[in-house]
């Protein structure tokens, strides 16, 4: 019998204060959130303005991180995941996110599913050859499927044993939210970059170095971005390999097994980071048809 190991309680993260640096014609702010380096570029002249924008951005990123984290025990995610089938009333921002998750589930014919996170109890993508036996994967499938939840905004009922995880959209959503918040304060050109998921605004072209996750030996890529967003899905470091067959970390929630021939990493450019991120994730879920899918979406994309 397969035994679930739930993550224990963790202390709320202690945030290192953001750092601010002056560059040629703009300021660069840096901080850590959502387990990745976050960067904010601001084409402003006053240091005091840059500083207050940076504080605003970091607080927003930390707020969303706190809200979405599976590792804290005082947020809605925790309450839902521990609701034991009882209805939970969710607040407005969460209503929007769950609506969005539902639309993504429908648009992807069930392949994008925020309840698929429990499959991680069977799969650990650590580069080893430890492919799970079919039985434990099979045993988890009754706990996967958006079709099993009841969503009548603002009430959400999650059957006992199921979990939701908004990690698939959280970071991109945080990028867009942060930029929107900054734009309310300042019209200057800005770039929000949370670990390579990027949204730029304003009348200015930026050169941004992003890490190439597919090829860790190659130097970072320099991208020019004007207005709009970029997001990358995929992680070349997370896989299993057995008998010469590579098992990528993208799981099909309908089978519990990795999507075959999934691309290692897909980057998409779109109007918002959330849209770019979802398109990139959908493309990964298409397996070998990723490129065909992206062509049909009429977007700029890069497949590694």
């Amino acid at each position: 019998m397969f035994i679930r190991k739930k993550g224990g309680r963790r202390a709320p993260p202690i945030h290192k204060p953001p750092s601010l640096k002056k560059a040629e014609g703009y300021y660069i702010g840096r901080f850590q959130a959502m387990a990745c380096p976050c960067e904010l570029l601001m084409a402003v002249e006053k240091k005091s303005l840059a500083k207050s924008l940076l504080t605003l951005a970091a607080n927003e990123a930390w707020r969303i991180e706190q809200k979405f984290s599976r590792y804290v025990d005082d947020n809605l995610i925790y309450r839902i995941n521990h609701s034991n089938g009882k209805p939970i009333k969710v607040e407005e921002e969460f209503v929007q996110l769950l609506n969005f998750a539902q639309q993504c589930y429908e648009l992807s014919d069930g392949l994008f599913d925020i309840t698929s996170g429990v499959l991680r109890y069977a799969w650990t993508f650590d580069g080893s050859d430890r492919i799970p036996e079919p039985a434990p994967v099979e045993a988890l499938l009754p706990y996967v499927g958006w079709d099993k939840v009841t969503w009548q905004p603002p009430y959400f009922i999650l059957p006992k044993g199921m979990e939701i995880d908004l990690g698939g959209i959280g970071k991109e959503y945080a990028v867009d939210r942060t930029l929107l918040l900054l734009q309310e304060k300042c019209q200057a050109a800005m770039v929000v970059n949370f670990g390579g998921d990027i949204h730029a605004s304003g009348d200015r072209t930026w050169s941004i170095g992003i890490e190439n996750p597919a090829n860790l030996d190659s130097p970072i890529k320099i991208l020019k971005i004007h207005q709009g967003a970029l997001a990358t899905s995929g992680d070349a470091r997370r896989f299993l390999i057995k008998d010469g067959k590579r098992y990528g970390h993208v799981l099909n929630p309908k089978t519990g097994w990795p999507i075959s021939n999934a691309q290692r990493s897909v980057t998409v450019a779109a109007g918002t980071c959330t849209e770019a991120g979802i398109l990139a994730t959908f493309a990964l879920l298409q397996g070998e048809k990723a490129e065909e899918f992206l062509k049909n979406q009429d977007v700029q994309y890069w497949i590694e």
Binding site: G25, L180, N252, K254, T255, L279, Q286, Q297, D298
Partner: protein, 425 residues
């Protein structure tokens, strides 16, 4: 394994994302018409007044394709300088149509008061990318006045280099203009027939006319480079070559033939060469500060009529918060005269092959001072008001002016006020 249908779900996804982020859906907006409307009022002191409504429609399609349609009306009234010199006496001129005459009192610049016209012009432009590195644009325009018709076509091709930081553009345009003035085309340098009650006036007038219409063609070639200098600076350099052939004369302009006393003994219709080759170099730099934008340009033009001109233009967009801006404008223009330009002809001297007293071909300087105020309304429509003052001065005075002409204002200043109101939605 059942994968989802790789159909296009982008539109639905964009709407879902915008709803999540509380944004207006961008997909629906992209394919709407953008409408710019403006009314321009131009008034020269004691001379021409023009009212010009403009409507510009732009529609963006997918893949950076765009269609632009522009409709312009010009309603012109007032009087324009004929080219004749003022005098200490009353002068009588025959109207260009031959129907009647008008007089100019002493000391006044002779103006043709029959200047009244309505012009309608329509242009359409289509642009689209060709692959990743090229962009093309094609268009045509048609313009109609009471006695004038113009038809033009144009096309251009741009190539991006250096990750779109450099753009090279080559463009060609061609226009054909036809003029059919009331009273026909005057014979070049023919003496104006004046109706002093003579029985044979109509015959005399007709003797100064040839053909009912004339036309000209204009071909222009443009070569340009646009370079992104840094994240805030854009620079553009263009060379253009223009060739006009055909009837380049203004059938409504005349010259005075003056005697030793400076008084006109005759008026002759002007005559210009039938070809003109123009070259111009244009440089423009735009720099974005954090909020403000400065736009500086200079044009140097030279042609085979011996006219050279310099134009300096400076605009500074000064942002006042998010929704308002003020934009001061300064423009300085100076040109040398055409080689056949003459303020007047001297009686008894042989007539030159070409001569014109049109002040626009003389030596002149013009200064424009303007201020524009723009704002974005709560509904995201843009509104702007532009006020400009223009002053044009000709040569100080002719040194060789004989007799009474030395006491006359041969190169009067032209002052004009321009008011433009624009609304975009």
């Amino acid at each position: 394994m059942q994968l989802m249908n790789p159909k296009n779900i982008r539109g639905a996804l964009t709407i879902a994302t915008c709803s999540l982020l509380g944004l207006n859906s961008a997909v629906a907006d992209e394919e709407n018409w953008e409408i710019d409307s403006a009314v321009l009022y131009y008034s020269e002191t004691d001379r021409v007044t023009a009212i010009e409504p403009v409507i510009n429609l732009k529609r963006n399609f997918d893949d950076e394709k765009a269609l632009n349609l522009k409709l312009v009306f010009d309603l012109l009234t007032g009087a324009s300088a004929t080219g004749a010199t003022p005098s200490d006496q009353v002068q009588t001129f025959t109207r260009p149509s031959g129907n009647g005459s008008y007089t100019t009192s002493s000391g006044e610049t002779p103006l043709d008061d029959t200047f009244k016209d309505t012009r309608a012009a329509l242009s359409a432009q289509w642009e689209q990318p060709l692959g990743r590195d090229y962009k093309t644009s094609v268009g045509s325009n048609v313009s109609k006045e009471y006695d004038y018709f113009s038809l033009g076509i144009n096309g251009s091709l741009s190539r991006y280099f250096n990750q779109r930081n450099t753009t090279l553009t080559a463009g060609l345009s061609y226009a054909n203009d036809t003029i059919e003035p009331e009273g026909d085309i005057p014979l070049e340098l023919a003496s104006m027939a004046i109706n002093t009650g003579q029985a044979r006036f109509e015959e005399e007038f007709n003797a100064t006319r040839r053909g009912g219409d004339e036309s000209k063609t204009t071909a222009d070639l443009l070569l340009g480079v646009t370079q992104v200098i840094d994240r805030q600076t854009l620079m553009q350099l263009n060379y253009s070559f223009g060739q006009s052939d055909g009837y380049l004369t203004d059938p409504f302009k005349i010259l005075s033939v003056v005697g030793n006393d400076g008084r006109a003994v005759d008026y002759v219709y002007e005559s210009r060469p039938d070809s003109r080759t123009k070259h111009s170099l244009y440089w423009q730099t735009k720099h974005h500060f954090n909020q403000d934008i400065v736009d500086l340009s200079y044009r140097y033009m030279w042609d085979d009529w011996d006219i050279t001109s310099h134009t300096f233009d400076l605009r500074y967009r000064w942002k006042l918060g998010h929704k308002h801006y003020l934009e001061p404008h300064f423009r300085y223009y100076m040109q040398s005269n055409a080689d056949f330009y003459q303020r007047f002809l001297l009686d008894g001297q042989p007539l030159p092959e070409h001569a014109s007293a049109d002040y626009r071909l003389g030596e002149l300087t013009g200064i424009t001072l303007g201020l524009k105020y723009g704002m974005t309304l709560p509904n995201d429509h843009d509104l702007s008001l532009r006020l400009e003052y223009y002053q044009q001065s000709g040569e100080a005075n002719a040194n060789n002016a004989p007799g009474i002409l030395s006491q006359q204002e041969l190169f009067p200043d032209v002052d004009a006020v321009i008011v433009q109101f624009s609304y975009s939605f």
